[in-house]
């Protein structure tokens, strides 16, 4: 390969280098444009309020300050953002545990066991995945209200233990790739279905469960609608919801709002950097299921 390219005229090699260079410059410029809004917000969170709208589009603060983070962290109605972050963590972690549990158990049932009615339930699950969430919003609210769940974190966590059609489907695809010989050998050794699940399948499907966990956590962390509907006490507010109320209350203190906004995105960014591969795979398979 090198021998061939070395024999090629220098001008051609040069032309290719230039075109590759132009490609990278253009993509980087476009990428910078894409990230500019976020970078601007981060920069603004370190600018004093007087500077945010005077040197507006600049990405480098003239005076660098942590003041916004300090005033922002104080929060509102006597509750600091520490409380809201804790709430978001609790809700997202419970929801994530629920989703991982449901996805692992149900996917195994659908993928490995043969029983009457399996296809009916599977079809129902797939069909309801298409159901618009806003159709369910009112009756679910009525239901949770009757159960006394409104004003608690239960509506935001419990359903995760009993749902997640897409997650289940994704883990099922993963289980289908595991050879059945292992199950059969285990049966001969006297294992029942529960032992097969716990000892053989569960350890093997952990990569797909990590994807489920990351996707659920990110979704749960950012969920605004659920908090808007169900959390009616400031002590329960999640970061997403508190941020909206905070921005309404401190309308002129943009710096503090931006500072808390930046903080609210950090957990998602951390997960993204650590689990980028799983996340990208999870989202890519979404498209390949159809």
């Amino acid at each position: 390969m090198t021998a061939i390219s070395a024999r090629k005229p220098r001008s051609m090699k040069r032309a290719r280098q230039i075109s590759s260079c132009i490609y990278h410059v253009l993509v980087v410029l476009f990428g910078f444009g894409m990230l500019y809004p976020l970078l601007w917000m981060i920069a603004a969170s370190f600018k004093p309020n007087t500077e945010i709208f005077t040197s507006v589009s600049s990405l480098i603060p003239k005076t660098f300050t942590f003041e916004n983070y300090i005033t922002g962290w104080r929060g509102f109605s006597g509750l600091s953002f520490a409380v809201f972050f804790k709430n978001s963590f609790v809700i997202s972690v419970i929801g994530t545990i629920g989703s991982v549990f449901a996805a692992a158990v149900v996917a195994f049932g659908f993928a490995r066991l043969r029983f009457r009615g399996r296809n009916v339930w599977f079809t129902l699950m797939i069909l309801t995945m298409m159901l618009p969430s806003q159709v369910m919003m009112i009756p679910q609210f009525v239901l949770y209200n009757k159960m006394g769940w409104v004003g608690t974190i239960l509506p935001l966590t419990v359903p995760h233990f009993f749902g997640g059609g897409f997650n289940i489907f994704m883990v099922m695809q993963f289980i289908r790739g595991i050879p059945r010989d292992m199950d059969e050998a285990a049966v001969i050794d006297g294992c029942n279905w529960y032992m097969i699940f716990l000892r053989i399948i569960l350890p093997l499907i952990i990569p797909s469960l990590v994807t489920v966990a990351v996707l659920t956590f990110i979704g749960s962390w950012g969920d605004f609608m659920g908090a808007l509907l169900y959390l009616n006490k400031p002590q329960l507010y999640t970061v997403a919801y508190a941020l909206k109320l905070f921005s309404d209350a401190s309308y002129t203190d943009f710096g503090a709002t931006f500072a808390m906004s930046v903080l609210s995105l950090i957990p998602i960014l951390i997960l993204f950097f650590f689990f980028q591969r799983q996340l990208v795979e999870g989202i890519s398979t979404q498209g390949l299921k159809g």
């Binding site: 990428g31 990230l35 809004p37 976020l38 601007w40 917000m41 709208f53 507006v56 589009s57 549990f101 149900v106 049932g109 066991l113 043969r114 029983f115 009615g117 339930w121 699950m125 309801t128 159901l131 618009p132 806003q134 159709v135 369910m136 919003m137 009112i138 009756p139 679910q140 009525v142 239901l143 359903p159 233990f161 009993f162 749902g163 289940i168 029942n192 279905w193 529960y194 699940f197 950012g222 605004f224 609608m225 509907l229 919801y241 941020l243 909206k244 931006f258 808390m260 906004s261 609210s264 995105l265 998602i268 960014l269 993204f272 980028q276 996340l279 990208v280 498209g287 390949l288 159809g290």
Partner: protein, 299 residues
């Protein structure tokens, strides 16, 4: 005791034990609300007194009396019909640009995906609002370029555009799906076409495009369904203003149901939305015979 254990170990029983969570979920959190919602659509219900049967009154009110109903429907329709095609074309375009071999690709991919990762987060909505504020950075950049500032969020002609822009900016996840599909196009097809002297443009239209139509179809259905259900950007950025020009159907529904406690009317609105979404999904499915190509069919 032994017999219980033996029963539990039978495949048919064990099967139901494993899928029990989804059965409970489908009944309690899906079927019951689904049918309750259908019933509520024909009632007047304020959550305090028992639902009162009113027949099709809610639907009559919706179609003939509630001006904001048609307004919000039209806004949502416009939002979907402009945002979805642009978003799909941009994500496919960027995916094509990124489908080459280079060490920098994963970094680029992550960069373009980050806005989508933040999704409908409140932080991003608040940021977008200030970005397009009258004294915000976009107008500042405009003034540097010698363009007059625009009242983005207070002008009927631009406000919805700003929200559409936010949606398009988050093209990352459909881009990832396109990228995965592009990788699945066998290299041998390209090689064969190159040998036959096909130009890159010709190769795109004759090989790549037909092979990714199933994924295009998936993205189209997905994006259409979620565009019709949009809520956050309108609720958080404009609150439907100015003059209701950004009042999404979902926000109007939320206001009627939860601000004015008209649960029956809200349910009727939700069912109308379900039918509209079903109609458009069916339309896309029906048309897909003409343009979605499944490789196995030809063999």
């Amino acid at each position: 005791m032994r017999s219980i254990r033996q029963t539990l170990e039978k495949e048919s029983v064990a099967g139901y034990m494993f899928i029990l969570p989804i059965i409970i979920g489908l009944i309690v959190f899906t079927a019951i609300p689904f049918f309750t919602s259908l019933y509520l659509a024909f009632t007047e219900y304020d959550m305090l007194t028992a639902p009162k049967w009113v027949g099709v009154d809610n639907f009559v009110k919706m179609f003939t009396k509630d001006k904001l109903f048609w307004k919000s429907f039209w806004v949502t329709f416009k939002f979907a019909i402009i945002q979805v095609p642009i978003k799909l074309l941009v994500s496919l375009g960027v995916a094509l640009v990124l489908s080459r071999n280079s060490k920098a690709i994963p970094v680029y991919r992550a960069t373009f995906y980050i806005p989508s990762l933040m999704g409908g987060s409140v932080a991003v909505a608040l940021m977008w609002k200030q970005l397009f504020a009258y004294n915000g950075p976009i107008n500042n950049i405009f003034s540097v370029l010698g363009i007059a500032p625009v009242r983005w969020l207070n002008d009927v002609s631009t406000a919805l555009g700003v929200l559409i822009g936010l949606g398009i900016w988050q093209f990352g996840s459909s881009m990832l799906i396109f990228l995965a599909a592009l990788k699945n196009v066998p290299a041998s097809y390209h090689e064969a076409a190159i040998v036959d002297g096909a130009s890159p443009v010709r190769r795109f239209f004759a090989i790549v495009l037909p092979m990714i139509t199933p994924v295009f179809f998936f993205n189209l259905v997905n994006q259409t369904i979620s565009a019709f259900q949009a809520f956050n950007s309108s609720y958080l950025i404009t609150s439907g203003k100015p003059l209701n020009s950004t009042l999404y159907y979902g926000v109007h529904l939320y206001n009627r149901a939860f601000t004015f406690s008209e649960m029956g009317y809200g349910s009727a609105m939700a069912w109308f939305m379900l039918l509209v979404i079903a109609f458009f999904t069916a339309l896309i499915f029906k048309s897909s015979n003409a343009w979605v190509y499944y490789e196995s069919e030809v063999k």
